[in-house]
């Protein structure tokens, strides 16, 4: 390499990313990593979108899902989706969202039914993820939707019908409007900002702070 070219190369390196296209030392397409085949992609491409993209062949009904539910889900979620201990409740909660104790279930809160299929396959049963067959997941999706009174018990859930299921809370979401807190002025107050400060609550009186232990290795 000639001296002037060397200097040029070093100069490009020094400018970092700005010289991305020009720097002959940076990787060119195909130099790093392995090309993946459609078959390889399919092994990992497990996500399902609201429009149904990603749903596999197969089908199931709530009736078929009942046994799958009892075998795999009821221990934590309860026979009727009522939830055991602190595990999620999956049934009911309709009309509770504006109450003091909202209950968020697929029926009361989830905007898209496809999310049930996606999540059940990828993460459930808890501790044995990605173990269910498409038919089992379709049947469980139907079972949950039926518990939530979104579909009847003989409704066939598959790649064609699931994206068309209208979830009750589909229109319950608005794009992030923040900053949403009304402030009195752009310039924060520095002096005599409030007349009287009143203590409205003490954490110590609630007394739920872990006292002993609580350590994590």
């Amino acid at each position: 390499m000639s001296k002037s070219l060397k200097i040029l190369t070093l100069g490009l390196l020094a400018t970092g990313g700005a010289a991305f296209a020009a720097d002959p030392n940076l990787p060119k397409p195909g130099e790093i990593g392995s090309a993946v085949t459609p078959q390889e992609i399919a092994r990992w491409d497990i996500d399902v979108r609201p429009d149904g993209l990603g749903l596999p062949p197969g089908q199931g009904t709530a009736e078929e899902g009942e046994q799958v539910w009892m075998d795999n889900c009821a221990a934590c979620h309860g026979e009727f989706g009522e939830g055991v201990d602190r595990w999620p409740v999956l049934m009911g909660g309709v009309d509770s969202l504006s109450s003091d104790s909202p209950v968020k279930t697929p029926g009361s809160y989830w905007p898209y039914a496809t999310t049930i299929y996606d999540y059940v396959y990828r993460a459930m049963p808890f501790g044995n993820a990605q173990s269910l067959t498409p038919d089992e997941v379709y049947a469980l999706t139907a079972y949950i939707l039926n518990m939530d009174e979104v579909v009847p018990s003989d409704f066939v859930v598959n790649a064609e019908t699931l994206p068309k299921v209208e979830m009750p809370n589909r229109d319950g979401f608005i794009d992030d409007p923040r900053p949403d807190v009304k402030v009195a002025s752009q310039e924060p107050c520095m002096k005599d900002c409030v007349k009287e400060v009143k203590i409205t609550g003490h954490a110590r009186k609630i007394d739920v702070t872990p006292e002993e232990g609580g350590g994590v290795e």
């Binding site: 990313g17 991305f20 940076l26 990787p27 397409p29 790093i32 990593g33 392995s34 090309a35 993946v36 390889e40 992609i41 990992w44 491409d45 996500d47 979108r49 429009d51 934590c76 602190r86 969202l97 504006s98 003091d100 909202p102 809160y109 496809t114 999310t115 996606d118 999540y119 990828r122 993460a123 993820a129 979401f173 608005i174 992030d176 923040r178 949403d180 807190v181 009304k182 402030v183 752009q186 520095m190 002096k191 005599d192 900002c193 409030v194 400060v197 203590i199 409205t200 003490h202 954490a203 609630i206 739920v208 702070t209 872990p210 002993e212 232990g213 609580g214 350590g215 994590v216 290795e217």
Partner: protein
């Protein structure tokens, strides 16, 4: 590595405090003139008459600890969890002991962890990152492959969107750690997503990225392409060493300023698409429910926030005289511009000097020297402002905007009540 024994939750300071040293000093009269007696912790008796063993006998040699650990006397500086929060420890969170840390970098050993199906322990030789979807050349990258790209080093905080989430209805947990400890700040080393997407080539309709983890939750979040190309990175390094398993070893996503849930750990897949996926984590969770039953969605950014780390419930006052208020401020929208501190619950404020460096989307330190007379009650607050002009709200302001059921994004001003005894507690004021 030797395992640290788990100490009871009572911190060193609290034990000292309860042993009476602080109380005695606190109620002791402050004498005038030059002979004011300073605070001396119980058991610390000044210059000892006897030479201590460590000044006479040999300590261990350099082969004793191939990977070092903190002093045995710092055994109280540990992550803690709140058992009643979740159904199991595998789907749970622990909290950073902010009250015991210094500067802006969170040590890897106490960096808070949030797992959805436990901590995956991955052999890097078995790990691949697949990039596919609306790209010209779908590929998979091994760890050595990733290391062939030019990395960047960037300091960013990461904060769980549920930080402070237990305080919406009132002051509930008594401590910095439990109210603001879903937070850490590190120097991340990794490859910008822009570099990787330039390398595989984006198709014209590429508007969203799905990031997916390789753990048993296979957590997925949709990220808008503008953000991905702006400052996101695939990190493998944290504070100078490889990520630890609890932080996503061997690679994770870094999404600066945005909620921690999006910083997908054990990253195995990036799929490029034209629409968001509406995964369980961006619908059922991480949406902010309002009193009218509607919910905000895609509330990605962590707005400006701050907390006084000392004095605090874990760090009681130890007597009259000079003290320093120490605290942290951060904003997902850029740099911290100013931090104001109040000692009377928000009536009057003074601006606290910020400590360098002041970096965008990173923790920023403030230190404010002050004097305490040893008998007055104080209500300490900090209020951060970022470079966009956004000012950290009060809990009353936040409740007026969003009610008490939104769980996430409670970045309200905290209030520490300093009692005349020197004890400090978490309260809410109106």
């Amino acid at each position: 590595m030797t395992q640290k024994t788990i100490q009871p939750h009572t911190s060193l300071d609290r034990r000292r405090f309860l042993s009476g040293g602080a109380k005695m000093a606190a109620v002791g009269a402050v004498s005038g003139g030059l002979t004011a007696v300073g605070f001396r912790p119980a058991g610390a008796a000044g210059i000892p008459e006897e030479l201590p063993d460590h000044s006479r006998y040999l300590g261990p040699g350099v082969t004793d600890q191939p990977y070092g650990t903190p002093s045995q006397y710092e055994a109280h500086v540990i992550r803690r969890n709140v058992e009643w929060l979740t159904g199991s420890t595998e789907s749970s969170i622990n909290f950073t002991p902010l009250q015991d840390l210094h500067g802006i970098i969170t040590p890897n050993g106490v960096f808070f962890e949030r797992h959805h199906s436990g901590r995956a322990d991955i052999d890097p030789a078995q790990h691949q990152l697949m990039i596919h979807g609306l790209v010209e050349r779908p590929i998979s990258l091994s760890v050595p492959d990733l290391l062939r790209f030019r990395p960047v080093d960037r300091i960013f905080f990461t904060e769980c969107a549920a930080n402070g989430g237990m305080e919406w209805r009132g002051a509930q947990l008594n401590g910095v750690q439990f109210t603001r400890g879903m937070l850490g700040c590190a120097q991340w080393t990794g490859i910008p997503l822009r570099t990787l997407f330039d390398y595989v080539g984006l198709k014209p309709k590429a508007k969203w990225v799905l990031a997916e983890g390789a753990d048993a939750a296979a957590l997925t979040r949709s990220i808008p392409m503008d953000k991905a190309l702006d400052d996101c990175m695939v990190a493998f390094g944290q504070n100078g060493e490889m990520l630890r398993p609890g932080q996503g070893y061997p690679m994770r996503l870094v999404v600066p300023g945005w909620e921690g849930n999006m910083w997908v750990k054990w990253l195995r897949r990036l799929e490029v698409g034209d629409e968001p996926w509406y995964t369980r984590w961006e619908t059922s969770k991480y949406t902010d429910l309002l009193p009218n039953g509607k919910a905000y969605k895609f509330t990605w950014v962590q707005e400006a926030n701050s907390v006084i780390t000392s004095p605090s419930p874990e760090k009681p006052m130890n007597g009259a005289g000079p003290h320093v208020i120490r605290g942290l401020a951060w904003s997902g929208n850029g740099r911290i511009k100013r931090v104001d501190v109040s000692m009377d619950g928000g009536k009057n404020w003074i601006t606290a000097p910020l400590e360098e460096p002041i970096l965008p989307k990173a923790l920023t330190r403030f230190y404010l020297p002050f004097r305490w007379d040893g008998k007055s009650s104080l209500m300490l607050q900090s209020r951060a402002m970022d470079e966009t002009g956004y000012v950290q709200p009060t809990i009353v302001d936040l409740r007026n905007a969003r009610g008490t059921n939104s769980i996430y994004h409670n970045n309200s001003i905290m209030t520490w009540l300093v009692n005349p005894t020197g004890e400090v507690e978490n309260v809410q004021v109106a």
